[in-house]
Symmetry: C2
Subunit: 192 residues, 2 copies
């Protein structure tokens, strides 16, 4: 029939639109195919690994998007200002695209592409940490801590884990203050 001219990237586009609309549970090759205006098996011409690979590509794309946002937020800032902006950008992305963010851990194994994207994301954090005199292995430990905090808060808030009356936004503010304060006196640093 008429050729749609699909590309792997476009398949991921459709998949993301579907996830945004109906959640990761609804991600099925059949629905993606319908959105793309194509029969289900045709998707294999572009995503040969089937559903598993599609999930992988989604994780890569989302990680890249997130890394972009963080990089944008960091540019032109340094120190506490930069960390604050990065953490706010992280949470803003997760809040704006909750299903997309929740789809992240659905990826199979961390492959090369995903590792590359994640490395870039971590790179942004490491770069920001230079403002605290952190470098080398300690910068990695600190960056992992930052990422754990950002990811933990994002996934818990998306999952609806914060049900008490207290405003999660306030929690996030506290969390940022706590983090910036801690980074100034990072444990492994001799300069205390």
């Amino acid at each position: 029939m008429p050729r749609v001219g699909l590309t792997p990237d476009q398949v991921v586009d459709h998949a993301l639109a579907l996830i945004d609309d109906q959640g990761g549970e609804a991600l099925t090759l059949a629905s993606v195919a319908t959105r793309a205006g194509v029969a289900t098996p045709s998707l294999y011409k572009h995503v040969s690994g089937g559903l598993g690979e599609l999930r992988r590509l989604i994780a890569v794309r989302v990680t890249e998007e997130l890394a972009d946002r963080l990089a944008d937020a960091a540019v032109g800032r340094s120190g506490d200002d930069a960390v604050t902006a990065v953490l706010r950008a992280y949470q803003a992305y997760a809040t704006a695209h909750p299903h997309r963010y929740a789809a992240l851990p659905q990826a199979p194994q961390p492959d090369d592409d995903l590792t590359r994207a994640a490395t870039r994301l971590v790179g942004v954090i490491v770069a920001v940490l230079r403002g605290y005199g952190l470098d080398g292995p300690e910068a990695i430990h600190a960056a992992r801590t930052v990422r754990s905090l950002a990811h933990g808060f994002a996934s818990l808030s998306i999952a609806g884990a914060f049900q008490l009356a207290e405003d999660p936004t306030t929690t996030h503010d506290r969390l940022i203050t706590t983090l910036t304060t801690a980074l100034h006196t990072w444990p492994g640093t001799a300069t205390a």
Copy 2:
């Protein structure tokens, strides 16, 4: 045929054994039924909501288990000692049962049972924070921060996100030191 004498709890037991063995991806009513020595539809007699409810029950069970471990770790300790023990227990549980922990976010919506279990888990953290003079709303914000850090690190480490040469155990040590230090000068506290 001969009655197996199944109960909802036993169904969850089988499901958890399956998850531990083969990961959350492999959780299917058919496999659980096989393990239980029963035909698939028979499971509906015990878990009427089908796969969705089973996942819900699993999340509740895992959250309860985790809360137990944290409570055990906290007993008889206070202050930095208690926080350290709780965070280590958290990570130890996640490391010991990675698939089980990864299955947590597969639960549908936070229902009453899950909320109850999570409330107990948070209660343990809040109790530990009393050692820092934290109470009321600020204790909640601090507890959420602690939980975010613990959950973020656990899920990232399970997902294999820490691929660089640096030892994640060292990261965890730094993370704990950072957290205890920060709790002593919690942002919202007047006593600075």
